[in-house]
Each structure stands twice: as structure tokens, then as C-alpha cells.
């Protein structure tokens, strides 16, 4: 069982977290092509190695971004959602 750092609560066991998706998968609003919309819905990079992901800490309810290595499971850090993840 891994320890994930919630930016609001500190390190907690992985069973308290839920995966939210790859960071930066911005929602395209309005009239977008079917290809673009399908990309948003279904296409994932699934990188081997360093990744940046959205997770939610279910016990506090907060979503955040976490940098993680998909090979060795090392967590290099986490942060509150920023502009990149918001698409703002």
C-alpha cells in the first residue's frame, strides 16, 4: 500500500484515494469535432515513466494533481489544481 501526499491532509494510504484521470485532458466546450470529443473522452497517453495525474482524496473530497512514476510508483509531489488542470 502506497502513501500519497494530499496537498490538504498530508501523506495518507492509497486506499483513501481515487484516480481521476491524466492531468491536462482539457474539456473542449461548444462545437467540437467528433474526433476532438472522442479524444477527450477516450484517448489517453498512458505514459511509461513520469506521469502527471488527477487524484481525489475521498476522505476530504479534494481533487489535486500528483506527479508519479508509472514504472516504479515513486511519487515526486502533489499540488492543488492549477491553470493547466482547470483549463482556465
Amino acid at each position: 500500500m502506497q502513501l500519497f501526499p494530499c496537498p490538504f491532509c498530508g501523506p495518507r494510504e492509497e486506499s483513501e484515494f481515487h484516480y481521476g484521470g491524466e492531468a491536462g485532458n482539457l474539456r473542449p466546450d461548444g462545437e467540437v469535432t467528433a474526433e476532438r470529443w472522442a479524444g477527450y473522452l477516450h484517448m489517453r497517453d498512458n505514459p511509461k515513466g513520469p506521469t502527471r495525474e488527477i487524484w481525489v482524496h475521498m476522505t476530504c473530497g479534494e481533487f489535486f494533481a500528483m506527479s508519479r512514476d508509472s514504472v516504479n510508483h515513486k511519487v515526486s509531489g502533489s499540488s492543488v489544481l492549477g491553470d493547466v488542470e482547470h483549463g482556465a
Binding site: Q2, R27, W37, Y40, L41, V56, F63, H73, E85
Partner: protein, 959 residues
């Protein structure tokens, strides 16, 4: 075999404390400090079990966790432990020990005849032989013959297993010389240390192999080191197995207790881990090397020194290394006649008086029926013996290192895999790291503590130091007779050869095809011999063949330990209604619905009749039911209206305060995710009333969109579901009952029309009265603080009496809603259902602002003309209801093709006929059409109708 207890000796046993227990109903004497295995050996019990497949007689081989043969069921006052290793369980007064896979006893097993047919039972014979006509015909007999211990299905632990979370600076696994040196050094540097060992006594090899450290005799040094750790406040756990090493260096321990308490599970998060897990001696390959009386040489030394047991009188020691000479000399000194057969030409350089050494010789075969009686050497001579000790080299116990994804490196010098490149946070020390001498082991222990070691020098071995000098002595192909590789899985060298002939040349395939290494011992003694043979046959090097993947647990762990308190009702706790006791008092029969324990029906009579009666009476006068499970998620803030517009498929911002609206929430793929009523309390405050079983998921989605799209400051979300009870009054006389409750709110239809909300008070507490209906009748949902709900419910029932009010369980409520064509998401919809499939197409065509899932409603699939759409199905007069899940079918291709399926079906007592809902291809345009419906091979006819079968004009909502 003629093992016996010596008159003196045995450091672990207390001869002043005799005890007795039974083995296969025979009385066995022993002493406190004996393991079951040492007591069995001392009593001369040669055969202690039968092998898994061939029912071969098997004896004790090892002295610890590596034991492949001596599996026993142990029954004591606290219950039965199946498949325990006799070598790791302490003997205790009065326990009943049974051999496994043997009937009636290990000595006189009636399935022993199977071994005569061994040539018909090679690897994978099940797959090849029992395919026709059906494996399941053979399975029960085969499972009964090829089994291990017996699980008692009625066993319940007397208490819950403790589970402990622990943090420390350094966790040391293994309390041998290397582990003790590491623990002592880290403790001396001021760090917190946990030292665990799976044996009852710490010390590892120092307990039975000689040794002198810093001028002190080995065992005395161990006692002093442990005493210092204990007095320094460090944690030393014996009988504790580190069975798993997980991500982020979490180590799982299972601790056994001698006092009958259930095992304790530890989750330890150390800053550094030191693995000092030792090494396991390997068997030597020769024909019939599985006969009782053939033991690990190290185990024989351990039984001699720790338990005062001499394993034989006429002993041959077969070896390829120097480590077997200490046992040989010690057993000779204890009175046995000992001859060493050393495969090395220069072997026996260490030989001393009292033993004979045959250098450059190997054993070809062992002879005997139920115990070894002699050996045939490769020069053709035979030797009569009652015991053979074997040492085929040492396999480092790399399991935990490998579980941590550590790469192994092949050492030619040790003829074994050892840990390769270091892993962050983990040090390896002692025999697992490939050290041979005591000084090396002690120094590696201190080094393995890394930054946590003290600056003091490591302890030093001051006696004579061990040597190994191992050469390869692997199993060879085309050997005569049956050379056992894996004792517990009954895999021979011939099985490995067969697997290779059939092209299972990957080590992972070999494992699965032959079951090599797949038994409860996970091949601790057999894996390396197996892959060395595979390497030989396939012309590869051993490192090229590689090992199979090491996975937790290192040794079996009781489920009770892993479960801890999460068992029985705590395994998946149900949510409970605040009024559960009231419903039970009223005869409520409870079932779980979406994680909630709710009354299915009342009265305790026959279920079907009770449910029909509730549904019938509900339409006649008035019904009461507990809808407290409905979601009540508050959405508050200046952008709340904008937020609910985005969340819902239906436009919600136009809703007037004091009113509510039914709507769908979609997923981004356009599929209906939830339905329910949204209440607008005031300009900036809404209450999302979502489906009972979806509350947590809906709440998470609202939070996700709030945080991702709206920001934390403009919308606030609060899940108040558990704070309120919602009690519902429904039926033609509902208003009269609610009037009688005296809630202080105007209930006339002008003030409180259908889909409006009013505030009232009951006994001083605020209540919210919502006119929404899931029955199709005039209904009032009254929400009140959960802790004040009982008084309101009691009053409702009192006032309801004058109107012959009926209590509705969830089952009759389902009939009422199905009569009306009201859907349950996930039951009447599936993972493709979009809102326009349910007849709600308006927002799709009219809405211009963005909402969740919008773009997906205009894909090619969403626009398709042959989508499954919600319909009702009517059967012919007098026919029984259709089955839920029955498929609408029509001719297509080579046979029938599905055109959708029945999602709900009930017998309606009010209509006197069945009602059904279904998702049928192009269903909305096919009302009146009769289709075939198939269920379990029977085809019936049904007519497509509108989903709503009762009061289609909706007059009763206002009646």
C-alpha cells in the same frame, strides 16, 4: 530411519517440562521447546505425510519455513490450523496433529497404490486425460484424492485478529548474526528499530552452527544483543514472518501467538529496511531422493543441537560444498556412523577423525519403501544406511528483495541468485547477500543499515570461519529413476523434460505446466534445481533462464489475520435507516438495496402476497414509506444556478424558488447517470435529490465539476443525506393525513401544487414538504432532522389509521413506480441509454448552453435510428409476467438476433395483469407491434405499449 532423542543436549528444549500430543491418533512425547517436527523425529516417526499427487510416503526434510513435506493439520483448543508446517509449529500439550492427504494415516495411506501408476500420471495429465466428456465429472474424485489439509467450514475465530500500523527508522528482517548486527548498530546510533524473526528463538544459524563473536560464544552473544535491544526500548518480535514487501517500502508482518490469540497483522513503514533473511539448503538430485530419512544436512544439525535429536545411526552425507562437514562431524561425535559422499574431487579437505569421505562420488539412487535403507553410488557400490543428509548448496532467501522489484544477479561462486543492484531504502545482509563467513555476515549487517548505522566497527567472528567451496550439482536430463525436484508438488526431473519436449521452455510456462514451485511452499527448496535442469535441457545458462516472479506472501497467512475486524457484518457495512427499529417493530423484513438496509415488505407473511397487498392498498387510500435514503446534496453559492444547469441535462436555472423539477444527470459520454428531483430552496440554494444508491457517486461528481470548472469560491456543496429522514405520504387521501400532522404550511393545491416545496414545522423542528411522487399518486415527501424523525413517523401512523394507511416496503413501491413507467437508472437503463431513448429529447434539441455530456448526444451512435428505447410490454390476457432479462428477438442472419430486453416486470394488483418495462430497438415508434420475447429457450409474444400502464393522464397526481 531410526531417529531418536539423545540422553543429553538440545539448547531449545526443557527436559523438565515433558508434554504429549497425538499424531494420527498415536501418542507422541516431547518437551517444551520442541517443534512438532522435532518431537516426531524424536519419537521415530519416519513417515509424516503423503505427497500431493502420487501419495508417496514423505518424511521431515527441513527444520524451518522451507519444509516441503511435513504439512499437518493442527487442532487445539482454539481451532484447527490446516496445512501447518510441522517444523515451524511449537509442540504443545494435548494438541491433535494429523497428516494431510493421507487416509487413515500417513503410514497406512490407502491411496498409496497411486504411486504404482505414476507413469500414467505425468505432468499435466489432468489436462490431457479428463477433457472428455467433461472435466467436471472427474473433478470431485480427483480433488478428493489430490488435496492437502482439511478446512473446518464451521470454524469461527473466538476474537478478531489485531492489526497494527507501525512506523520506525529501521526494520530488520531476520535475527541471525547479520540482522542482529544491523539492529544493534542502528539502535546504538539512536534510531528506532524493529527486529523480526519467524522463529520462536532469535539467533538464526548461531543457534545450531558454532561460532564465536568478539570472543563470546555465539548463542551467548545473541542473548546479550537481544537483551540490549529490549532494554533500549526497541521492538523485537519473534514468531513473526515478514511476508510481503510492497510499494513505498511497506512491510507486512504476521505475528503468531503462543497463548492462543489469533495472529496479529502488522503494517510497518520503516525509513530503512534491512533484509537478513538467510539462505535455504538445496536437495541433492538422485533417484528416490524423496524417501523418508533423507534430510537437509543443516536441518539434521539443528535437530541435534537445538532438540537433542539424532536423526539416524548409519548416515551418508551427500554434498557439493563445505557446509555439510559441520553436521557430519557433529553427528559422528554424537554417536552416528557417518560417511560423506562429496562430488568434488578435492572434497573432504576438512575431514577429520570419525568420518569417512568419498571424494568425487555422487549418489545415483536411494532404496527403501517407507524409509531409506540404502544408497547406490555412481561407482556401482551400495551402502546400507538409515539416513541420508543432503546439502546441494544454498539458495539465498531473496523473496522480499524480489517483491520490492529488486533485480537478481547470478553468482557462479555461490551457484545461486543473489540480490543485484541496490534498491533505495533497502539493504541486504548475511547469507541472502551471499556472505559465507561469520565476519562477512556481521560486517554486511552494519553496512546494510546504511545511514542509520552507528560509527562503531562491526562485531567480528573470532572462531574458525565457515567456507563454502560449492560446485554445481544440478539435476541432469535422462537420469535413471525418478529424481524429485519439487517434493510438495510432486514434480520430477522427467516432468521437466516432458514440459520442454512439449515446448514449455519459458520458466513461467514450465512452472504452470508442471506446477513446479506452485505448492504451499512456493518452491523454496525446488525452484533453483528446476530451472537449472531447464537451462541444461534447453542449452541455456541459468541466468538466461531466469526465475519466476516472487509474490507475497512468503509463507501462507491466515485469512483471519488479513481480514482483521473486517469480517461478518463489518466486511461491507450496510447503511441503516434512522427508523430501523420502528420498521422492525412494525414487522419490516429487511434487505440490502444499494448498500442500504431497507424494509422489503412488512408483516412477516408470505413475501409475494404481502407485497401484492401493500401495492393494492396503496392505490386505494393512503400509504406511508420511508424514503430517507434519497440523496440530499445541497448546492449553495452565487454560481449555484449556473452550476446545476451545467450538471443537469434539463435546464434548471429557470426553476422558481419553492419549486422542484425532475431531471437527468448524464456522464460525459451522454449516457444517463442518475435521475431525480432538484429542489430550488432560494435563489442561491438547491438540493439535489439523487438516487439512493448513487449519493456518494453523485456527490463526487458534483465536487469534481465544482473544483475543476467553477472554482472553490463560487459554489459550495454539502452532502446532507444522513442528516435528514424523508418520510412520504402517498395516495388519494394523502393530503388529509398530512393536514392532520399540523405542520403549519398551506397544503391547498394553489399554495402547494405538484412539484412545489413548502416549509413547515413539526414539534418545533423545521420540516420541508415536497410534492413529488414516485408512485403516481398525490404524494408528500416530508424531510426532518434524522434524530427527530421517530416522533413524526409515529404521528403519521396514528393519523393514518383513520384512512387505513398501509406501510410500503421497497418491493411494493417498485410495483407502483413500474405501473407508472417510472424508471430506475441502472435497472431500466444500461450503459448506452441516452435521455432521448427515454423519451426526453427536448433539452437535446433546444438547449444552447453547455452541459455535461452534451456533445456526446450528437455523435453518429447517438443519432442512430435503431437505438434501444424505453417501452412497456403487455402480455396476453391471463399470462404470467415476462422474466427480467428476457430478450426481444427477431430473425436475423443465421438465427435469432436480440432487439433489446426486459428491464422490469411485476404483477400489478391494481390492473390485474403484469406490467413490464423494456429497452427495445426503435421501440418508441413501434407501439402496438407484437414481438417475440425469448427466455431460457421459451419464446412468447408481447405487445409494445407506452411505458406508463396506469393513469396515463396523471390525474391521480392531483386527485
Amino acid at each position: 530411519m531410526s531417529a531418536s532423542r539423545l540422553a543429553t543436549g538440545g539448547s531449545d528444549i526443557d527436559r523438565g517440562c515433558p508434554l504429549s500430543f497425538t499424531f494420527d491418533d498415536r501418542r507422541v512425547e516431547g518437551f517444551a521447546g520442541d517443534t512438532i517436527a522435532s518431537a516426531l523425529l524424536a519419537s521415530g516417526q519416519a513417515v509424516v505425510g503423503r505427497s500431493f499427487k502420487y501419495h508417496r510416503p514423505r518424511g521431515i526434510w527441513g527444520s524451518g519455513v522451507e519444509e516441503p513435506n511435513a504439512l499437518v493439520d493442527v487442532e487445539s483448543a482454539v481451532g484447527r490450523v490446516p496445512n501447518a508446517r510441522a517444523t515451524t509449529v511449537q509442540a504443545a500439550e494435548g494438541i491433535r496433529v494429523r497428516s494431510v492427504n493421507a487416509s487413515p494415516t500417513a503410514e497406512t495411506d490407502r491411496n498409496a497404490v497411486l504411486d504404482r501408476f505414476a507413469r500414467f500420471l505425468p505432468a499435466a495429465f489432468y489436462y490431457k486425460t479428463f477433457m472428455w466428456p467433461d472435466w467436471h465429472l472427474f473433478e470431485p474424485r480427483i480433488r478428493a484424492m489430490a488435496g492437502l489439509g482439511v478446512v473446518d467450514p464451521d470454524w469461527k475465530p473466538r476474537q478478531v485478529s489485531d492489526q497494527v500500523n507501525h512506523h520506525c527508522d529501521v526494520l530488520v528482517v531476520g535475527a541471525g548474526p547479520a540482522g542482529l548486527a544491523a539492529a544493534a548498530s542502528a539502535a546504538a546510533a539512536g534510531h528506532s528499530v524493529v527486529l523480526v524473526d519467524d522463529r520462536t528463538q532469535p539467533g538464526g544459524s548461531l543457534r545450531h552452527r558454532g561460532g564465536e563473536i568478539d570472543g563470546v560464544e555465539g548463542r551467548a552473544w545473541v542473548e546479550a544483543a537481544v537483551a540490549r535491544l529490549n532494554s533500549g526500548g526497541q521492538l523485537v518480535l519473534s514468531d513473526t514472518t515478514a511476508f510481503g514487501l510492497y510499494d513505498h517500502n511497506l512491510v507486512a508482518l504476521n505475528q503468531r501467538h503462543a497463548d492462543g490469540r489469533p495472529d496479529t497483522l502488522w503494517r510497518v513503514r520503516p525509513r530503512r529496511i534491512v533484509l537478513a533473511t538467510g539462505a535455504i539448503e538445496r536437495p541433492v538430485p538422485f533417484a528416490n531422493n524423496d524417501l523418508p530419512g533423507i534430510l537437509s544436512a543443516d536441518a539434521a544439525l539443528s535437530y541435534l543441537r537445538r532438540h537433542g535429536v539424532l536423526v539416524g545411526r548409519d548416515i551418508v552425507v551427500a554434498t557439493n560444498n563445505d557446509s555439510a562437514y559441520e553436521p557430519a562431524l557433529a553427528l559422528a561425535a554424537a554417536g552416528a556412523s557417518v560417511m560423506v559422499v562429496d562430488c568434488r574431487r578435492e572434497g573432504g579437505a576438512q575431514a577429520k577423525s570419525g568420518i569417512r569421505v568419498l571424494a568425487g562420488r555422487t549418489i545415483t539412487a536411494a532404496r527403501g519403501r517407507n524409509a531409506v535403507q540404502g544408497v547406490l553410488l555412481d561407482d556401482g557400490t551400495t551402502v546400507a544406511v538409515d539416513c541420508v543428509l543432503v546439502s546441494g548448496g544454498w539458495t539465498p532467501t531473496v523473496h522480499l528483495f524480489s517483491q520490492a522489484k529488486g533485480k537478481l544477479a547470478w553468482s557462479d561462486q555461490l551457484a545461486a541468485f543473489i540480490p543485484g543492484e541496490a534498491i533505495e531504502g533497502i539493504g541486504v545482509a548475511g547469507a541472502v547477500a551471499g556472505t559465507v563467513s561469520l565476519s562477512e555476515a556481521l560486517a554486511s549487517g552494519v553496512a546494510a543499515a546504511g545511514d542509520f548505522a552507528s560509527s562503531s566497527p562491526a562485531p567480528r567472528g573470532t572462531g574458525s570461519e565457515a567456507m563454502l567451496g560449492v560446485v554445481s550439482l544440478w539435476p541432469k536430463p535422462k537420469a535413471k529413476g525418478r529424481v524429485w525436484i519439487d517434493y510438495q508438488s510432486d514434480v520430477t526431473a522427467k516432468d521437466v523434460e516432458l514440459a520442454v519436449r512439449e515446448n514449455f521452455v519459458s520458466v513461467e510456462h514450465l512452472k504452470r505446466y508442471t506446477t513446479l514451485g506452485m505448492a504451499t511452499d512456493q518452491g523454496k527448496t525446488s525452484n533453483l534445481n528446476g530451472l537449472a535442469l531447464l537451462a541444461d535441457i534447453t542449452g541455456r545458462g541459468i541466468p538466461e533462464v531466469g526465475t519466476t516472479t516472487y509474490r507475497p506472501p512468503f509463507t501462507p497467512v491466515p485469512f483471519a489475520s488479513l481480514a482483521g475486524s473486517r469480517r461478518g457484518s463489518m466486511h461491507a457495512p450496510v447503511r441503516r435507516l434512522p427508523l430501523e427499529a420502528n420498521h422492525r417493530a412494525a414487522g419490516g423484513v429487511f434487505q440490502e438495496y444499494g448498500g442500504w438496509l431497507r424494509p422489503a415488505y412488512y408483516g412477516g407473511g408470505e413475501a409475494g402476497a404481502s407485497i401484492q397487498e401493500e401495492a393494492r392498498r396503496a392505490r386505494q387510500s393512503v400509504a406511508l414509506f420511508d424514503g430517507s435514503t434519497l440523496g440530499k446534496i445541497e448546492v449553495i453559492g452565487p454560481r449555484a444556478a449556473e452550476f446545476v444547469d451545467f450538471i443537469y441535462y434539463n435546464t434548471m436555472s429557470t426553476l422558481k424558488p419553492g419549486h422542484c423539477r425532475y431531471g437527468f444527470m448524464l456522464s460525459e459520454n451522454g449516457v444517463v447517470f442518475d435521475d431525480g428531483v432538484l429542489v430550488r430552496v432560494d435563489e442561491h440554494r438547491f438540493i439535489v435529490s439523487c438516487s439512493s444508491s448513487h449519493v456518494a457517486a453523485v456527490h463526487a461528481r458534483l465536487e469534481e465539476w465544482r473544483q475543476d470548472r467553477f472554482g472553490r469560491d463560487s459554489v459550495y456543496i454539502h452532502n446532507a443525506t444522513a442528516q435528514y429522514a424523508t418520510l412520504t405520504v402517498s395516495g388519494p387521501n394523502a393530503r388529509q393525513v398530512v393536514e392532520a400532522l399540523d405542520l403549519g404550511a398551506a397544503l391547498d393545491d394553489a399554495s402547494l401544487p405538484h412539484m412545489a416545496v413548502a416549509a413547515g414545522r413539526f414539534a418545533g423542528d423545521e420540516v420541508r414538504i415536497a410534492r413529488v411522487s414516485f408512485t403516481g399518486d398525490r404524494s408528500y415527501e416530508i424531510s426532518i432532522r434524522a434524530d427527530r424523525a421517530e416522533a413524526l413517523w409515529t404521528r403519521m401512523r396514528q393519523e393514518g389509521r383513520a384512512f387505513d394507511a398501509v406501510l410500503l416496503g421497497l418491493e411494493s413501491l417498485m410495483i407502483l413506480r413500474a405501473e407508472k413507467g417510472y424508471i430506475v437508472i441502472g435497472k431500466d437503463t444500461d450503459g448506452t441509454t441516452m435521455p432521448h431513448d427515454l423519451g426526453v429529447a427536448g433539452p437535446r434539441t433546444k438547449r444552447v448552453n453547455e452541459f455535461v455530456g452534451r456533445r456526446s448526444l450528437f455523435t453518429e451512435a447517438a443519432n442512430s435510428t435503431n437505438r434501444n428505447q424505453l417501452v412497456g410490454l403487455a402480455v396476453r390476457e391471463g399470462e404470467a409476467p415476462l422474466a427480467t432479462g428476457a430478450h426481444g428477438v427477431e430473425k436475423g442472419g443465421s438465427g435469432l438476433k436480440s432487439i433489446g430486453f426486459v428491464t422490469s416486470n411485476y404483477q400489478s394488483p391494481t390492473l390485474g395483469r403484469p406490467v413490464a418495462l423494456a429497452l427495445i430497438e426503435r421501440g418508441a415508434a413501434r407501439h402496438g407491434e407484437t414481438i417475440d420475447v425469448q427466455h431460457l429457450g421459451v419464446v412468447r409474444q408481447a405487445t409494445i405499449v407506452a411505458p406508463c400502464a396506469f393513469d396515463p393522464e396523471g390525474r391521480r397526481l392531483h386527485a
